[in-house]
Protein backbone atom coordinates (compact mmCIF):
# COMPACT_ATOMS: atom_id res chain seq x y z
CA UNK A 1 0.00 0.00 0.00
CA UNK A 2 1.33 3.34 -0.92
CA UNK A 3 1.31 6.29 1.39
CA UNK A 4 0.36 9.35 -0.43
CA UNK A 5 2.82 11.51 1.39
CA UNK A 6 5.68 9.33 0.30
CA UNK A 7 4.74 9.45 -3.34
CA UNK A 8 7.31 10.95 -5.59
CA UNK A 9 4.57 12.28 -7.78
CA UNK A 10 3.68 15.81 -6.93
CA UNK A 11 0.17 16.53 -8.11
CA UNK A 12 0.90 20.22 -8.44
CA UNK A 13 4.17 19.93 -10.25
CA UNK A 14 3.10 19.31 -13.78
CA UNK A 15 0.46 21.97 -13.80
CA UNK A 16 2.64 25.03 -13.48
CA UNK A 17 1.28 28.32 -14.57
CA UNK A 18 -1.43 27.58 -17.09
CA UNK A 19 -0.71 30.79 -18.92
CA UNK A 20 3.02 30.67 -18.49
CA UNK A 21 3.80 28.73 -21.62
CA UNK A 22 1.95 30.97 -24.00
CA UNK A 23 3.84 34.00 -25.13
CA UNK A 24 1.15 36.60 -25.08
CA UNK A 25 -1.37 36.25 -22.36
CA UNK A 26 -4.67 37.86 -23.07
CA UNK A 27 -4.07 38.47 -26.71
CA UNK A 28 -6.48 37.48 -29.40
CA UNK A 29 -3.97 35.12 -30.92
CA UNK A 30 -6.16 32.20 -31.70
CA UNK A 31 -9.14 34.05 -32.95
CA UNK A 32 -10.14 34.02 -36.55
CA UNK A 33 -10.73 37.60 -37.48
CA UNK A 34 -13.06 38.54 -40.25
CA UNK A 35 -12.76 42.17 -41.16
CA UNK A 36 -14.21 44.47 -43.70
CA UNK A 37 -12.65 47.40 -45.44
CA UNK A 38 -14.25 50.04 -47.52
CA UNK A 39 -13.06 50.66 -50.99
CA UNK A 40 -14.27 53.31 -53.31
CA UNK A 41 -17.96 53.66 -53.77
CA UNK A 42 -20.07 50.83 -52.49
CA UNK A 43 -17.26 48.36 -52.82
CA UNK A 44 -15.87 46.52 -49.90
CA UNK A 45 -13.18 43.99 -49.15
CA UNK A 46 -13.38 41.18 -46.65
CA UNK A 47 -10.29 39.80 -45.02
CA UNK A 48 -9.94 36.60 -43.10
CA UNK A 49 -7.02 36.47 -40.75
CA UNK A 50 -5.74 33.98 -38.24
CA UNK A 51 -6.81 30.78 -39.89
CA UNK A 52 -5.50 27.76 -37.99
CA UNK A 53 -2.58 25.98 -39.55
CA UNK A 54 -4.43 22.77 -40.17
CA UNK A 55 -6.60 24.39 -42.79
CA UNK A 56 -5.25 24.86 -46.23
CA UNK A 57 -5.81 28.50 -47.00
CA UNK A 58 -5.49 27.96 -50.70
CA UNK A 59 -8.16 25.33 -50.83
CA UNK A 60 -10.37 27.33 -48.56
CA UNK A 61 -10.02 30.33 -50.80
CA UNK A 62 -11.03 28.27 -53.74
CA UNK A 63 -14.07 27.03 -51.89
CA UNK A 64 -14.95 30.56 -50.83
CA UNK A 65 -14.68 31.87 -54.31
CA UNK A 66 -16.91 29.18 -55.63
CA UNK A 67 -19.39 29.38 -52.82
CA UNK A 68 -19.76 33.13 -52.60
CA UNK A 69 -19.26 33.80 -56.28
CA UNK A 70 -16.63 36.42 -55.71
CA UNK A 71 -13.00 36.80 -56.45
CA UNK A 72 -10.28 36.77 -53.88
CA UNK A 73 -6.64 36.32 -53.23
CA UNK A 74 -4.26 35.01 -50.68
CA UNK A 75 -2.04 37.68 -49.20
CA UNK A 76 1.07 37.08 -47.17
CA UNK A 77 1.54 39.49 -44.35
CA UNK A 78 4.51 39.72 -42.02
CA UNK A 79 2.47 39.87 -38.87
CA UNK A 80 -0.79 38.29 -39.84
CA UNK A 81 0.60 35.48 -41.92
CA UNK A 82 -1.65 34.25 -44.68
CA UNK A 83 -4.72 36.33 -45.14
CA UNK A 84 -7.61 35.48 -47.38
CA UNK A 85 -8.98 38.50 -49.10
CA UNK A 86 -12.33 38.45 -50.80
CA UNK A 87 -14.24 40.98 -52.80
CA UNK A 88 -17.41 42.31 -51.29
CA UNK A 89 -18.89 41.94 -47.87
CA UNK A 90 -18.65 38.21 -47.23
CA UNK A 91 -18.33 38.38 -43.47
CA UNK A 92 -21.48 36.55 -42.51
CA UNK A 93 -21.10 34.06 -45.28
CA UNK A 94 -17.58 33.26 -44.21
CA UNK A 95 -18.66 32.89 -40.64
CA UNK A 96 -21.46 30.51 -41.45
CA UNK A 97 -19.26 28.59 -43.84
CA UNK A 98 -16.60 28.12 -41.20
CA UNK A 99 -19.03 27.13 -38.51
CA UNK A 100 -20.58 24.60 -40.81
CA UNK A 101 -17.14 23.20 -41.41
CA UNK A 102 -16.75 22.64 -37.72
CA UNK A 103 -14.88 25.67 -36.48
CA UNK A 104 -16.19 26.80 -33.14
CA UNK A 105 -18.19 29.93 -33.39
CA UNK A 106 -16.57 31.60 -30.42
CA UNK A 107 -13.21 31.55 -32.09
CA UNK A 108 -14.50 33.59 -34.96
CA UNK A 109 -14.59 37.32 -34.51
CA UNK A 110 -16.41 39.46 -36.97
CA UNK A 111 -15.26 43.04 -37.04
CA UNK A 112 -16.48 46.03 -38.85
CA UNK A 113 -19.63 48.03 -38.93
Amino acid sequence: MSVQNLNTFDPFADEGDPLGSTQDVGSQQNYIHIRIQQRNGRKTLTTLQGLPKEYDAKKLLKAFKKEFACNGTLVDDEEAGQVIQLQGDQRLKISTFLTEEGIAKNTIKIHGF
Binding site: G26, S27, Q28, I36, N40, A80, H111, F113
Partner: protein, 360 residues
Protein backbone atom coordinates in the same frame (compact mmCIF):
# COMPACT_ATOMS: atom_id res chain seq x y z
CA UNK B 1 -64.25 29.30 -26.65
CA UNK B 2 -64.97 25.84 -27.96
CA UNK B 3 -61.69 24.48 -26.71
CA UNK B 4 -62.20 25.64 -23.21
CA UNK B 5 -63.88 22.57 -21.70
CA UNK B 6 -61.29 20.16 -22.94
CA UNK B 7 -58.57 22.45 -21.88
CA UNK B 8 -59.81 22.92 -18.38
CA UNK B 9 -59.20 19.51 -16.77
CA UNK B 10 -55.56 19.44 -17.62
CA UNK B 11 -55.42 22.94 -16.36
CA UNK B 12 -56.63 21.97 -12.96
CA UNK B 13 -54.39 18.99 -12.69
CA UNK B 14 -51.13 20.54 -13.59
CA UNK B 15 -51.69 24.17 -13.34
CA UNK B 16 -48.10 25.07 -13.52
CA UNK B 17 -47.39 23.28 -16.74
CA UNK B 18 -50.26 24.72 -18.61
CA UNK B 19 -49.58 28.18 -17.48
CA UNK B 20 -46.04 27.90 -18.56
CA UNK B 21 -47.06 26.70 -21.90
CA UNK B 22 -49.70 29.24 -22.38
CA UNK B 23 -47.31 31.99 -21.71
CA UNK B 24 -44.85 30.86 -24.25
CA UNK B 25 -46.85 31.13 -27.40
CA UNK B 26 -47.97 34.41 -26.13
CA UNK B 27 -44.45 35.56 -25.94
CA UNK B 28 -43.89 34.57 -29.49
CA UNK B 29 -46.60 36.85 -30.67
CA UNK B 30 -46.55 39.56 -28.15
CA UNK B 31 -42.86 40.01 -28.36
CA UNK B 32 -42.61 43.01 -30.63
CA UNK B 33 -45.53 44.68 -29.05
CA UNK B 34 -44.28 44.96 -25.56
CA UNK B 35 -45.15 48.58 -25.18
CA UNK B 36 -48.68 47.39 -25.13
CA UNK B 37 -48.96 46.38 -21.49
CA UNK B 38 -47.42 49.56 -20.29
CA UNK B 39 -49.55 51.81 -22.33
CA UNK B 40 -52.73 49.90 -22.01
CA UNK B 41 -52.70 48.81 -18.42
CA UNK B 42 -54.21 52.00 -17.26
CA UNK B 43 -56.92 52.07 -19.85
CA UNK B 44 -58.18 48.50 -19.86
CA UNK B 45 -58.24 47.81 -16.21
CA UNK B 46 -60.39 44.74 -15.97
CA UNK B 47 -59.88 43.35 -12.55
CA UNK B 48 -56.45 41.90 -12.65
CA UNK B 49 -54.71 44.80 -14.16
CA UNK B 50 -54.42 46.38 -10.77
CA UNK B 51 -52.33 43.71 -9.20
CA UNK B 52 -50.43 43.18 -12.37
CA UNK B 53 -47.77 45.70 -11.60
CA UNK B 54 -46.11 44.12 -8.63
CA UNK B 55 -46.64 40.62 -9.94
CA UNK B 56 -44.94 41.22 -13.15
CA UNK B 57 -42.27 43.05 -11.31
CA UNK B 58 -41.76 39.98 -9.28
CA UNK B 59 -41.71 37.87 -12.35
CA UNK B 60 -39.30 40.09 -14.03
CA UNK B 61 -37.03 40.15 -11.07
CA UNK B 62 -37.11 36.44 -11.05
CA UNK B 63 -36.23 36.42 -14.64
CA UNK B 64 -33.32 38.61 -13.99
CA UNK B 65 -32.24 36.35 -11.24
CA UNK B 66 -32.52 33.36 -13.49
CA UNK B 67 -30.62 35.12 -16.12
CA UNK B 68 -27.88 35.67 -13.63
CA UNK B 69 -27.56 31.94 -13.35
CA UNK B 70 -27.22 31.30 -17.00
CA UNK B 71 -24.63 32.92 -19.08
CA UNK B 72 -26.20 32.79 -22.46
CA UNK B 73 -29.38 34.28 -21.27
CA UNK B 74 -27.51 37.04 -19.68
CA UNK B 75 -25.63 37.76 -22.82
CA UNK B 76 -28.90 38.15 -24.51
CA UNK B 77 -30.13 40.49 -21.91
CA UNK B 78 -27.09 42.56 -22.29
CA UNK B 79 -27.60 42.62 -25.97
CA UNK B 80 -31.06 43.80 -25.49
CA UNK B 81 -29.97 46.47 -23.20
CA UNK B 82 -27.65 47.79 -25.73
CA UNK B 83 -30.22 47.62 -28.37
CA UNK B 84 -32.54 49.45 -26.13
CA UNK B 85 -29.94 52.05 -25.60
CA UNK B 86 -30.35 53.30 -29.05
CA UNK B 87 -33.95 52.48 -28.98
CA UNK B 88 -35.42 55.80 -29.92
CA UNK B 89 -33.97 55.55 -33.37
CA UNK B 90 -36.33 52.90 -34.54
CA UNK B 91 -39.41 53.96 -32.75
CA UNK B 92 -41.72 53.99 -35.66
CA UNK B 93 -40.95 50.54 -36.89
CA UNK B 94 -43.13 48.39 -34.72
CA UNK B 95 -46.04 50.51 -33.76
CA UNK B 96 -48.58 49.10 -36.10
CA UNK B 97 -49.16 45.73 -34.46
CA UNK B 98 -49.78 46.99 -31.01
CA UNK B 99 -53.54 47.13 -31.04
CA UNK B 100 -54.32 43.64 -32.20
CA UNK B 101 -52.27 41.90 -29.60
CA UNK B 102 -53.54 43.84 -26.71
CA UNK B 103 -55.82 41.34 -25.03
CA UNK B 104 -53.32 38.53 -25.25
CA UNK B 105 -50.60 40.65 -23.91
CA UNK B 106 -52.70 41.73 -21.06
CA UNK B 107 -53.47 38.19 -20.16
CA UNK B 108 -49.91 37.16 -20.61
CA UNK B 109 -48.72 39.35 -17.83
CA UNK B 110 -51.42 38.13 -15.54
CA UNK B 111 -51.28 34.41 -16.24
CA UNK B 112 -48.34 33.54 -14.07
CA UNK B 113 -50.20 34.56 -10.97
CA UNK B 114 -53.40 33.00 -9.83
CA UNK B 115 -55.86 34.28 -12.32
CA UNK B 116 -59.59 34.60 -11.92
CA UNK B 117 -61.32 31.74 -13.67
CA UNK B 118 -63.29 33.83 -16.08
CA UNK B 119 -60.34 35.54 -17.61
CA UNK B 120 -58.47 32.31 -17.67
CA UNK B 121 -60.97 30.75 -19.97
CA UNK B 122 -60.85 33.66 -22.28
CA UNK B 123 -57.13 33.70 -22.39
CA UNK B 124 -56.62 30.07 -22.98
CA UNK B 125 -58.94 29.92 -25.88
CA UNK B 126 -56.90 32.63 -27.38
CA UNK B 127 -53.70 31.02 -26.49
CA UNK B 128 -54.56 27.69 -27.93
CA UNK B 129 -54.72 29.18 -31.31
CA UNK B 130 -51.42 30.80 -30.84
CA UNK B 131 -49.83 27.60 -29.71
CA UNK B 132 -50.09 26.05 -33.11
CA UNK B 133 -48.20 28.82 -34.74
CA UNK B 134 -45.27 28.49 -32.45
CA UNK B 135 -42.66 25.99 -33.37
CA UNK B 136 -40.04 24.89 -30.94
CA UNK B 137 -40.06 24.61 -27.24
CA UNK B 138 -36.61 25.96 -26.82
CA UNK B 139 -37.34 28.91 -28.98
CA UNK B 140 -40.52 29.48 -27.11
CA UNK B 141 -38.83 29.59 -23.82
CA UNK B 142 -36.46 32.13 -25.12
CA UNK B 143 -39.35 34.15 -26.35
CA UNK B 144 -40.97 34.08 -23.00
CA UNK B 145 -37.81 35.27 -21.51
CA UNK B 146 -37.58 37.99 -24.07
CA UNK B 147 -41.00 39.02 -23.19
CA UNK B 148 -40.18 39.33 -19.59
CA UNK B 149 -37.22 41.38 -20.53
CA UNK B 150 -39.40 43.59 -22.56
CA UNK B 151 -41.67 44.11 -19.71
CA UNK B 152 -38.78 45.17 -17.63
CA UNK B 153 -37.64 47.45 -20.33
CA UNK B 154 -41.04 48.83 -20.96
CA UNK B 155 -41.29 49.64 -17.34
CA UNK B 156 -38.07 51.52 -17.44
CA UNK B 157 -39.03 53.27 -20.57
CA UNK B 158 -42.24 54.25 -18.93
CA UNK B 159 -40.38 55.94 -16.19
CA UNK B 160 -38.26 57.88 -18.55
CA UNK B 161 -40.26 58.86 -21.53
CA UNK B 162 -43.07 57.62 -23.64
CA UNK B 163 -42.56 53.96 -22.98
CA UNK B 164 -42.31 53.16 -26.66
CA UNK B 165 -38.69 53.08 -27.46
CA UNK B 166 -37.15 50.13 -25.68
CA UNK B 167 -39.03 47.13 -26.97
CA UNK B 168 -39.00 48.15 -30.57
CA UNK B 169 -35.54 46.71 -30.78
CA UNK B 170 -36.15 43.37 -29.30
CA UNK B 171 -36.89 41.42 -32.39
CA UNK B 172 -33.48 42.33 -33.59
CA UNK B 173 -31.91 40.34 -30.85
CA UNK B 174 -30.97 37.07 -32.39
CA UNK B 175 -33.20 34.42 -31.00
CA UNK B 176 -32.55 30.92 -32.14
CA UNK B 177 -29.06 30.14 -31.00
CA UNK B 178 -29.62 29.69 -27.34
CA UNK B 179 -28.67 26.20 -26.36
CA UNK B 180 -30.51 25.77 -23.15
CA UNK B 181 -34.20 25.53 -22.97
CA UNK B 182 -35.54 27.54 -20.15
CA UNK B 183 -38.49 25.41 -19.33
CA UNK B 184 -40.82 26.44 -16.60
CA UNK B 185 -38.76 29.43 -15.78
CA UNK B 186 -41.59 31.85 -16.19
CA UNK B 187 -44.02 30.04 -14.02
CA UNK B 188 -44.67 31.29 -10.61
CA UNK B 189 -45.57 28.68 -8.11
CA UNK B 190 -46.28 29.25 -4.53
CA UNK B 191 -44.40 27.40 -1.90
CA UNK B 192 -46.20 24.21 -0.97
CA UNK B 193 -47.70 23.27 -4.30
CA UNK B 194 -44.55 22.18 -6.04
CA UNK B 195 -45.32 19.70 -8.77
CA UNK B 196 -43.11 16.97 -7.39
CA UNK B 197 -45.11 16.69 -4.22
CA UNK B 198 -47.84 14.74 -5.94
CA UNK B 199 -45.60 12.34 -7.79
CA UNK B 200 -42.49 10.53 -6.70
CA UNK B 201 -40.36 11.77 -9.53
CA UNK B 202 -37.16 13.65 -9.00
CA UNK B 203 -37.23 17.39 -9.12
CA UNK B 204 -35.43 19.02 -11.95
CA UNK B 205 -32.76 21.63 -11.58
CA UNK B 206 -35.00 24.23 -13.12
CA UNK B 207 -37.72 23.61 -10.61
CA UNK B 208 -35.38 23.80 -7.69
CA UNK B 209 -33.78 26.91 -9.02
CA UNK B 210 -37.16 28.43 -9.44
CA UNK B 211 -38.17 27.46 -5.97
CA UNK B 212 -35.05 29.09 -4.68
CA UNK B 213 -35.91 32.36 -6.32
CA UNK B 214 -39.48 32.23 -5.20
CA UNK B 215 -38.39 31.83 -1.63
CA UNK B 216 -35.62 34.35 -1.95
CA UNK B 217 -37.96 37.00 -3.15
CA UNK B 218 -40.62 36.05 -0.71
CA UNK B 219 -38.27 36.61 2.16
CA UNK B 220 -36.43 39.59 0.70
CA UNK B 221 -38.89 41.91 -0.93
CA UNK B 222 -36.23 44.57 -1.05
CA UNK B 223 -34.56 42.72 -3.89
CA UNK B 224 -37.42 43.56 -6.14
CA UNK B 225 -36.52 47.19 -6.24
CA UNK B 226 -33.07 46.63 -7.62
CA UNK B 227 -34.11 46.22 -11.21
CA UNK B 228 -31.71 46.81 -14.04
CA UNK B 229 -31.35 50.40 -14.93
CA UNK B 230 -31.30 51.13 -18.57
CA UNK B 231 -28.12 52.52 -19.91
CA UNK B 232 -28.80 55.07 -22.54
CA UNK B 233 -26.53 56.85 -24.87
CA UNK B 234 -27.40 59.49 -27.37
CA UNK B 235 -27.46 58.20 -30.90
CA UNK B 236 -24.39 59.15 -32.87
CA UNK B 237 -24.82 62.12 -35.12
CA UNK B 238 -23.37 61.53 -38.51
CA UNK B 239 -22.67 64.17 -41.08
CA UNK B 240 -21.18 63.77 -44.47
CA UNK B 241 -18.19 65.82 -45.37
CA UNK B 242 -17.75 65.82 -49.07
CA UNK B 243 -18.05 62.49 -50.71
CA UNK B 244 -15.59 60.33 -48.88
CA UNK B 245 -15.55 61.45 -45.31
CA UNK B 246 -17.99 61.14 -42.50
CA UNK B 247 -18.17 63.38 -39.48
CA UNK B 248 -19.13 61.86 -36.20
CA UNK B 249 -20.28 64.95 -34.39
CA UNK B 250 -21.01 63.90 -30.85
CA UNK B 251 -18.09 61.63 -30.08
CA UNK B 252 -17.07 63.64 -27.07
CA UNK B 253 -20.57 63.55 -25.65
CA UNK B 254 -20.78 59.83 -26.04
CA UNK B 255 -17.34 59.32 -24.58
CA UNK B 256 -18.27 61.44 -21.62
CA UNK B 257 -21.36 59.38 -21.21
CA UNK B 258 -19.39 56.17 -21.20
CA UNK B 259 -16.61 57.63 -19.03
CA UNK B 260 -13.99 56.69 -21.53
CA UNK B 261 -11.17 58.57 -23.12
CA UNK B 262 -12.14 59.70 -26.60
CA UNK B 263 -8.76 58.47 -27.83
CA UNK B 264 -9.54 54.97 -26.74
CA UNK B 265 -12.96 54.98 -28.32
CA UNK B 266 -11.63 56.44 -31.51
CA UNK B 267 -8.82 53.97 -31.64
CA UNK B 268 -11.27 51.14 -31.26
CA UNK B 269 -13.56 52.51 -33.92
CA UNK B 270 -10.78 52.92 -36.42
CA UNK B 271 -9.48 49.46 -35.73
CA UNK B 272 -12.90 47.93 -36.09
CA UNK B 273 -13.91 49.77 -39.19
CA UNK B 274 -10.55 49.42 -40.83
CA UNK B 275 -10.18 53.05 -41.61
CA UNK B 276 -8.48 56.17 -40.39
CA UNK B 277 -9.45 59.68 -39.56
CA UNK B 278 -8.82 62.63 -37.34
CA UNK B 279 -10.41 64.86 -34.78
CA UNK B 280 -11.16 68.38 -35.90
CA UNK B 281 -10.99 71.60 -33.91
CA UNK B 282 -14.42 71.36 -32.38
CA UNK B 283 -13.96 67.83 -31.12
CA UNK B 284 -15.71 66.10 -33.94
CA UNK B 285 -14.34 62.95 -35.42
CA UNK B 286 -13.72 62.84 -39.11
CA UNK B 287 -13.74 59.32 -40.45
CA UNK B 288 -12.50 58.37 -43.85
CA UNK B 289 -15.10 56.49 -45.77
CA UNK B 290 -18.84 56.59 -45.82
CA UNK B 291 -20.55 55.34 -42.76
CA UNK B 292 -24.14 55.38 -41.74
CA UNK B 293 -25.42 56.08 -38.33
CA UNK B 294 -26.45 52.54 -37.65
CA UNK B 295 -23.05 51.24 -38.62
CA UNK B 296 -21.36 53.53 -36.15
CA UNK B 297 -23.98 52.60 -33.62
CA UNK B 298 -23.18 48.97 -34.07
CA UNK B 299 -19.51 49.58 -33.52
CA UNK B 300 -20.22 51.63 -30.44
CA UNK B 301 -22.44 48.93 -29.08
CA UNK B 302 -19.68 46.44 -29.37
CA UNK B 303 -17.30 48.86 -27.75
CA UNK B 304 -19.65 49.15 -24.83
CA UNK B 305 -19.99 45.42 -24.49
CA UNK B 306 -16.28 44.98 -24.60
CA UNK B 307 -14.94 47.96 -22.73
CA UNK B 308 -17.68 49.61 -20.74
CA UNK B 309 -19.98 47.14 -19.10
CA UNK B 310 -18.71 45.04 -16.28
CA UNK B 311 -18.66 41.42 -17.33
CA UNK B 312 -19.62 40.30 -13.88
CA UNK B 313 -22.50 42.53 -12.95
CA UNK B 314 -23.32 44.21 -16.26
CA UNK B 315 -23.08 47.61 -14.71
CA UNK B 316 -21.77 50.37 -16.91
CA UNK B 317 -20.06 52.13 -14.02
CA UNK B 318 -16.57 51.02 -14.79
CA UNK B 319 -13.20 52.64 -14.96
CA UNK B 320 -10.58 51.85 -17.51
CA UNK B 321 -7.01 52.21 -16.37
CA UNK B 322 -3.75 51.30 -17.95
CA UNK B 323 -1.07 49.37 -16.14
CA UNK B 324 2.00 47.92 -17.75
CA UNK B 325 0.61 48.35 -21.23
CA UNK B 326 -2.51 46.41 -20.33
CA UNK B 327 -5.87 48.02 -19.86
CA UNK B 328 -7.78 47.02 -16.79
CA UNK B 329 -11.43 47.60 -16.30
CA UNK B 330 -12.56 47.93 -12.72
CA UNK B 331 -16.19 48.00 -11.82
CA UNK B 332 -17.45 50.69 -9.53
CA UNK B 333 -20.51 48.85 -8.38
CA UNK B 334 -19.27 45.32 -7.78
CA UNK B 335 -15.57 45.93 -7.46
CA UNK B 336 -14.48 43.34 -9.95
CA UNK B 337 -11.41 43.99 -12.00
CA UNK B 338 -10.38 42.39 -15.22
CA UNK B 339 -8.08 43.03 -18.08
CA UNK B 340 -9.59 43.89 -21.42
CA UNK B 341 -8.35 43.00 -24.84
CA UNK B 342 -5.98 45.40 -26.42
CA UNK B 343 -7.16 47.16 -29.50
CA UNK B 344 -5.50 45.63 -32.49
CA UNK B 345 -5.83 46.83 -35.99
CA UNK B 346 -4.99 43.57 -37.66
CA UNK B 347 -4.36 43.10 -41.30
CA UNK B 348 -5.08 46.06 -43.52
CA UNK B 349 -5.39 45.30 -47.16
CA UNK B 350 -3.99 47.63 -49.71
CA UNK B 351 -6.87 49.69 -50.93
CA UNK B 352 -6.65 52.20 -53.69
CA UNK B 353 -3.40 53.62 -54.93
CA UNK B 354 -0.16 52.33 -53.56
CA UNK B 355 1.68 54.78 -51.44
CA UNK B 356 4.76 56.26 -53.02
CA UNK B 357 7.24 55.22 -50.41
CA UNK B 358 6.26 51.61 -50.73
CA UNK B 359 8.00 49.99 -53.61
CA UNK B 360 6.69 46.99 -55.33
Amino acid sequence: MAEEPMFDPSLKKRKKKTVAFSEDPLGAEADPTTPAPVVIDDTTTNGEAVDMGPKTMHEQMKQNGDAGAEDGAEERKEDDDFKAMFGDLKKKKKKKDIPMDLPEDNSGTSTPVTVPAATEDLDFSDLKKKKKSSKKKAALDMEAFEKELNEAKAKDADEEEGGVEGPAEVDEAELGDDPFARNEATVSMDAGNEPWLNSDRDYTYQELLHRFYVQLHASNPALLNSTVKRYTIAPPQMLREGNKKTIFANVSDICKRMHRQPEHVIQYMFAEMGTTGSVDGSGRLIIKGRFQQKQIEHVLRRYIVEYVTCKTCKSPDTLLSKENRIFFMSCESCGSRRSVATIKTGFQAQVGRRSKNKTG
